[in-house]
């Protein structure tokens, strides 16, 4: 037998084994509904339907199913990130892998939705108190100079300016970009997430609370608990790249100050339940960041032991979750509204006019979701 024949036979044997083994393991492997590492639901086995077969989506769904439940999928995806980080591609699924942090590369394609701006302006038009707006940059806004220049055609700085310029004059905008940029050598942003750390949130708080008319609590009064050092956030979920260090989640507590007396969540279906401000059971879940504020609900009412009758309406996205812990010292009641989880109008939860101050606090990345404020005015 010639050596080429032997070689061919060996190839046939090896590759066929791999293909068939891949098929069998994928077929018989355990089928999870949810990926902890990627923090998303995995595809279910597609049902055959005439329409899906006709428009070609059935093949795609089946491929998605195989992909999601592929044998050792997470290992493969991490390997992909490693291969790319060596060969220089550096970008996977829109995530740029820098030596010490992950960055979102899809910043420039983001468009600040005019609909959102109009909704906020309309809200302010009907509101009798004072409204404040602060837009928080993402990691790519602060560390954008690490990204290749061609990806930064529309920097976040401009997006925030555009947003602020188009808000009605009465809305007081609070700039946090410059202070965060100044502090960029500190641990103010997670390495694997687009959002602020508690430390970063403290500086946002310090800026914001002064505008709201309070004196900020000084940093050294806080006791800081490191809850976990294994946090990997939304950017990690997209690329599963293990080359960056995992992140630390902190809780800041103010031992001599006011406390939360009650914290009630109101669901879309009318149910209410008591919750705690931080919920460590989420450390076991795919989304450790949920530890701040727990399950996301459209409306959470926080009452504190502060006796000043001051009430704040906070309309926010997840950027505010670790920020709320700092507000407790200043308000007797904080109404926290998450518009992205609302399925019925704001008025069915609260009357905004009962709150003398309203603070909009959003990551700039949420502002391109044009359905964000659909229920804020109806």
């Amino acid at each position: 037998m010639k050596i080429s024949e032997i070689s061919g036979k060996i190839t046939a044997f090896i590759i066929l084994t791999i293909l068939i083994a891949g098929f069998i393991f994928t077929l018989t492997g355990k089928k999870d509904d949810f990926s902890l590492k990627e923090n998303r639901n995995l595809a279910t086995f597609p049902e055959i339907s005439f329409s899906a077969l006709t428009d070609g989506s059935y093949g795609k769904q089946l491929n998605q199913y195989i992909t999601d439940h592929f044998f050792r999928r997470e290992k493969w995806v991490s390997a992909q990130a490693d291969i790319n980080s060596y060969t220089g591609g550096k970008i996977i699924n829109g995530v740029y892998m820098d030596s010490n942090r992950l960055l979102d590369t899809e910043v420039s394609s983001r468009e600040i939705s005019k609909k959102n701006i109009e909704a906020v302006n309309k809200f302010f038009g009907n509101y009798i108190g004072t409204a404040y707006f602060t837009a928080i940059p993402t990691t790519s806004g602060i560390y954008g100079d690490k990204l290749p220049e061609y990806l930064m055609t529309n920097p976040e700085r401009n997006q925030i300016d555009f947003l602020y310029d188009n808000l009605t004059d009465g809305i007081r905008t609070i700039d946090t970009y410059n202070i965060l940029r100044m502090l960029s050598d500190n641990y103010i942003y997670y390495r694997n997430d687009t959002r602020l750390t508690s430390y970063g949130a403290y500086y946002v708080y310090k800026t914001v609370i002064q505008k709201l008319g309070f004196r900020p609590s000084s940093y050294d009064k806080y006791t800081i608990n490191h809850i976990t050092s294994d946090f990997r956030g939304n950017l990690y979920n997209r690329c599963l790249y293990n080359g960056t260090k995992s992140d630390i989640l902190d809780i800041y507590s103010y031992s001599v100050g006011a406390e939360v007396t009650s914290c009630t969540a109101y669901c879309n279906n009318g149910m209410t339940y008591r919750k705690t401000l931080n919920d460590e059971k989420f450390l076991e879940s795919g989304d450790m960041y949920r530890m701040y504020l727990g399950t996301e609900e459209p409306f959470i009412r926080i009452k504190t032991s502060v006796n000043n009758e001051k009430k704040l309406l906070l309309i926010k996205d997840s950027y505010a979750d670790c920020f709320i812990q700092f507000l407790i010292q200043h308000y007797s009641e904080i109404a926290v509204i998450s518009p992205e989880h609302m399925e019925k109008p704001l008025s069915s939860f609260i009357n905004p006019d009962n709150y003398e101050q309203t603070l909009f606090l959003f990551g700039i990345e949420s502002m391109d979701n044009e359905n964000l404020f659909d229920f804020i005015n109806k």
Binding site: S7, I14, L19, T54, D55, G59, G88, G89
Partner: protein, 459 residues
């Protein structure tokens, strides 16, 4: 479903191979046809309908032409009708003018990677060959259906003539060695598509993300080099994957590309580029027209027009026309300079530069953009290099060089010319390992999205 998807590699391929091998000899054709139909359904039921109708039209046309062998006029009308029908279907998918048809028929976008353009060439070659008495019509509908829709050949198929196919079909042997070779070729194609093709596509897109008026000269060149490499590796990769699968089923398809990128002349380049497609145009467009016309000057004009047709086949618009036209003109004028001694040394550089420059027409959205791009390449924007250049070179240079090396065929030449046995032995020994490694890397690279569906060109 395309070849470069997890569903295909770790689902459809192993299952269909096993099914095919355990099928008794008599039923092998039917089982392959059924598998191919399932493959089509995985793209869309509409696609199956389409390809079945397409097959039937050509099947019947073939039989009719065969039947009226004695009556030349009717036969000519039949042929003409067949070619027109095939061409209209081709145009339906390749131009936006006939969008209404596509919308009316609710045809989804998944059609494109399946190579409708190749199907047209195949069909026309079949009915023309019958008309010319080269072959008899195929009455066995299963065999003919396999010719049209066999899944190892359905995506960017090698355009083979029916008598070649029939020969393959009738004496196909499957040995373990053959399967091993086939799988190695499949993995080679996968590597070309997933690693080289896609990376070069990313590089090209990075260059293109900059406004054309601000593009620096070096970037523009990098972009075009990336484009030609991506085009080559995507087309060659798809062809190799199909060829490899064909081997596993006992079909020995020919090579579509023979390392064209570094040739000594443009003529060499295009005789190694998409070999069957270019051959098709030579045989079915150029030759009949030459037969009618003997004048040398006219023949040259016809030659250029044939190249315009090839260009239009790649891209059915003015850009494709211009691209084909300039290649045709260059080929005509190259005849006069090919004797020059200096070309023996500088031929590769000249060919490389010229082919890259011509690619501007194939790549740009419209002729206006292409001309501006060309100006940018020549430094018309007044920028030689910028920070993007540094970034691109930093991250892509190594891959660019590796891809370039792989496109040259230097490795193959080294093996073939060395004549030393130990080199051949060494390569035979490491080839299974390399194949395995490449399969693992490609699987990792497509593990997140599940498939590699970046197509730099839609054929």
């Amino acid at each position: 479903m395309t070849y470069s998807s997890l569903l295909f590699i770790y689902g459809f391929l192993p299952v269909s191979l096993v099914i095919y091998w355990i099928t008794p000899l008599k039923l092998k054709n039917i089982s392959l046809l059924i598998l191919s139909m399932i493959f089509c359904i995985m793209n869309s039921l509409r696609f199956l309908e389409f390809i079945v109708i397409y097959t039937l039209i050509n099947y019947l046309t073939g039989i009719l032409i065969d039947r009226f062998r004695s009556r030349k006029l009717i036969q000519s009308v039949m042929l003409f009708t067949g070619i027109i029908a095939d061409t209209i279907i081709f145009l339906m998918f390749r131009t936006d003018f006939l969008d209404i048809f596509r919308d009316r028929l609710k045809i989804p976008d998944v059609f494109f990677p399946v190579g409708v353009s190749f199907l047209t060439l195949t069909a026309i070659s079949y009915i023309t060959d019958i008309y010319r008495n080269c072959i008899r019509a195929e009455y066995d509908i299963i065999k003919f259906s396999l010719y049209m829709m066999m899944f190892p050949a359905i995506i960017m198929r090698p355009v083979i003539r029916y008598n070649t196919f029939r020969r393959m079909l009738n004496d196909r042997k499957i040995t373990v060695t053959e399967i091993g070779n086939g799988l190695a070729i499949f993995v080679k194609g996968l590597t070309e598509k997933v690693i080289a093709g896609d990376t070069m596509y990313m590089l090209y897109m990075a260059v293109r993300s900059v406004d054309i008026w601000e593009m620096s000269a070096v970037n523009a060149w990098l972009g075009m080099i990336a484009y030609i490499l991506s085009l080559y590796f995507t087309l060659a990769g798809m062809a190799d994957m199909g060829k490899g699968i064909g081997y596993c089923f006992g079909f020995r398809f020919p090579n579509s590309f023979n390392y064209p990128i570094f040739s000594n002349s443009i003529r060499d380049f295009y005789s190694n580029w998409h070999i069957q497609v270019i051959y098709w145009f030579r045989r079915y467009i150029l030759k009949p027209m030459y037969e009618v016309c003997g004048n040398r000057i006219y023949r040259k004009i016809i030659f250029v027009i044939a190249w315009c047709c090839i260009g239009m086949w790649y891209r059915f618009d003015i850009n494709g026309f211009v691209w084909g036209g300039v290649i045709g003109l260059t080929l005509v004028s190259e005849k006069y300079i090919r004797q020059l001694k200096i070309l023996k040394i500088t031929g590769i550089i000249y060919t490389y530069l010229v082919t890259i420059i011509f690619m501007v027409f194939l790549s740009g959205e419209n002729i206006h953009y292409s001309v501006n791009y060309l100006l940018a390449m020549l430094g018309g924007n007044g920028i030689f290099a910028d920070s993007l250049t540094l970034y691109l070179l930093k991250y892509y240079l190594v891959l660019l060089l590796i891809c370039t090396y792989c496109a040259t065929g230097l490795f193959r030449n080294m093996v073939m010319r060395s004549g030393k046995n130990y080199i051949k032995y060494a390569i035979e020994i490491i080839s299974p390992v390399v194949t395995l490694l490449m399969l693992v890397i490609c699987t990792a690279l497509i593990s997140y999205t599940g498939s590699s569906e970046l197509y730099i060109i839609r054929l």
